[in-house]
Amino acid sequence: MSPSDLLIIPFDDWVNALVRDWLVPNLRPLFRAMQVPITLVLNGLDDFFAFVPMLATTLVLALLAWRYAGRGTAIFTVLGLCFIDLIDLWPETMTTLAMILTAVLFCAVIGIPAGILSARSNLAWKIVRPILDIMQTIPSFVYLVPIVMLFGVGMAPGIIATIIFALPPIIRLTNLGIRNVREDLVEAAESFGSTPLQMLVEVQFPLALRTIMAGLNQTLMLALSMVVIAALIGAGGLGLVVNTGLGRLDVGGATAGGVGIVILAIILDRITQGLGEKNRVPTVSLREAIVSLFRPRGSVAPAEPGKAG
């Protein structure tokens, strides 16, 4: 004896009815409009990366890597990007890069304010948290279908799917970072007559920045992991290369796409992690540099600043 003996709820029919019969006809213009900024940014970035010569892009990324992640990563950047070019995947890689950056940009624009709001209001967090839980646990394939129905097929829908998938970390970590700012500092700021905005800008945000950058880094990684799935609904770039290889059982092609994704992931991961760290990684020997690529983050001890008496 169980509840299903009494009643079967036609949940699937209800969802179908909701999406097909109500959401799509009524809100289609809205959804089409939502794609416009995404497409704008994406096309802008895509054209930009296509325009800039490969060596220039490589140089800039290598310099960023050197500045924020150390010599080892810089060398890896140069070698990795050259390899990608040598296996003739440069245009696709730049497309993927543009897609990722677009997705992360929109995640930041939506996620950081949402995180700040959640940090200030327990009620807001009560509402936001279950939504994030759903977003993170629901398999991404599940929301691909409604996305296609609402937005169609192509790059923009692919990015929207990526945004949904990659949004939770930045919101969670922004919320965490701001809530975790030392209470006595917030008290001090308040006791000098700060408005809530002043407190946010002067004290809370700067001190939460490290955690927020960690959130951004995680968002970036999730976005990268979505490239193949996004390709299923029409996005291009390396995801499409892998997908095509999968479809044709072309192991070599799929692997090439995969390697490109991995190289891009490592470079972007190291750079964004380095951006979040306050202490710059000191330059070390080449051997140390290569070893440090494989060492877990945070185990390099920076030099102690001179303590006063």
Binding site: A188, S191, F192, S194, E202, V203
Partner: protein, 428 residues
């Protein structure tokens, strides 16, 4: 002139039904009973005091006595459950958020126990924080913050970060930050509690030195009675959210209100609480001109003294002891011995403000110590035995002894017993 800061009937209940707890309190229930019955915690009850401008008011108590809650109600970080807190007539307890912000920016600043410096800002930016919030422009901010850092001796560290500084230096920056906005009232929440003893003493002295020029109204929280006694013009002792006793350091040490306060004061250095003024008495004197040893003996016998000071006009000529004067008078027979012959010119002197602990050396001469004012006039005399009597007397609580001065109990044989020990002494 009305007091700068007045606290009236202030209560703070922690919990979600403060009204219930207030009603039980009015009935007379204890803190524990109310917590058991309602789950509400009494933070502060029936706080009533005022602080005059330029005074240092010290609130003392152990952990959990409500002192941190009390000081946070003064600048609105915690809102009282009931009562009024008046700063220059404005009620901080019930004012609007904008008013509160205005008061915090202009009238009142706070210094915290664990410094609360912003680690991502330089020392200069930390000191200038209050000014930035007020909207002062950058150049003016810089100038005023540097001036504040100058006052605490840290101007050279303006571009360093808090992590580069030691605890004592960080707290000085905290103090500079509090002073930079030129507030009239300074709230200090156990500011020296996190510092080691030597640094703490230095900071206390620095605060007193600053106070001489700045004359801020200061509310100071501590759990260290010695610190309270050193800094406080008036001291309040708190227990379980209530004020147990309010008074000057001497009041509290001489007349502890109950056993709790008595236990507190049992271990302090009484030599640092009382001054020469507190144990001096009005001197009996003999003029230098035309006095004989016999005159001195007569005066001493009349007033039951062991020694008497000899005045030349209104300057001290010296002191004469009963022993020497009586012996000289006896030996001379019928003729008179001029007083100059028995005059001791090497006599101990002190200021009225000298602490008793610094008088031990002079007390050991056996001669009464002359208390002189700034113009070197004799304003009183301290009997050596009274110095030790005041320091060593048993604590009398208000319940066992009515206001009997301790000196009276310990030294009944000296004439000082007949004179009140703590009169303010005018010049002769």
């Amino acid at each position: 002139m009305p007091a700068k800061l007045t606290v009236r009937d202030v209560y703070k209940i922690f919990g979600n039904a403060p009204q219930q707890a207030l009603e039980l309190l009015a009935r007379g229930d204890s803190k524990e009973a109310i917590f058991e019955a309602t789950g509400q915690t009494i933070g502060v009850q029936d706080a009533n005091f005022s602080v005059e401008e330029g005074q240092i008011f010290v609130v003392m108590g152990l952990s959990g006595s409500g002192k941190s809650t009390l000081i946070r109600m003064l600048n609105g970080l915690i809102r009282p459950s009931s009562g009024a807190i008046l700063i220059d007539g404005e009620d901080v307890a019930t004012c609007s958020v904008e008013q509160l912000r205005r008061i915090r920016r202009n009238k009142i600043a706070m210094v915290f126990q664990h410094f609360a410096l912003f680690p991502h800002r330089t020392i200069l930016d930390n000191a200038a924080y209050g000014l930035k919030i007020k909207g002062v422009d950058a150049a003016e901010r810089r100038r005023r913050a540097l001036a504040a850092l100058e006052q605490v001796g840290l101007a050279a560290w303006a571009d360093s970060y808090p992590a580069d500084l030691s605890g004592g230096m960080q707290q000085r920056v905290g103090l500079a930050r509090g002073l930079a906005t030129d507030p009239q009232i300074l709230l200090m929440d156990e500011p020296f509690g996190a510092l080691d003893p030597l640094i703490r003493k230095g900071m206390q002295e620095e605060l007193l030195a600053l106070q001489k020029t700045l004359k801020k109204t200061i509310v100071f929280i501590t759990h260290d009675l010695n610190e309270a006694l050193m800094l406080g013009d008036r001291i309040a002792i708190m227990k379980d959210g209530r004020f147990v006793q309010v008074g000057t350091a001497q009041d509290i040490v001489s007349n502890p209100a109950d056993d709790y306060v008595a236990a507190f004061v049992a271990d302090i250095d009484r030599g640092r609480v009382f001054t020469a003024e507190n144990v001096a008495h009005r001197p009996a004197v003999v003029p230098l001109d035309d006095s004989t040893a016999g005159d001195a003996v007569k005066t001493m016998e009349d007033q039951n003294l062991n020694a008497v000071y000899v005045m030349d006009g209104n300057q001290i000529a010296g002191v004469v002891t009963y022993q020497q004067a009586a012996a000289a008078d006896r030996e001379s027979g019928p003729s008179d011995v001029p007083i100059q012959d028995v005059l001791i010119t090497d006599y101990p002197t002190t200021d009225p403000e000298t602490q008793l602990a610094d008088l031990y050396g002079q007390a050991s001469t056996g001669l009464p110590i002359a208390v002189t004012d700034a113009k070197n006039r004799l304003v009183g005399v301290v009997e050596p035995e009274n110095v030790f009597a005041q320091i060593s007397s048993d604590i009398q609580t208000a319940s066992t002894e009515a206001a009997a001065p301790p000196a009276a109990d310990a030294a009944p044989e000296t004439a000082a017993a007949d004179r009140p020990a703590s009169e303010k002494l005018p010049a002769l």
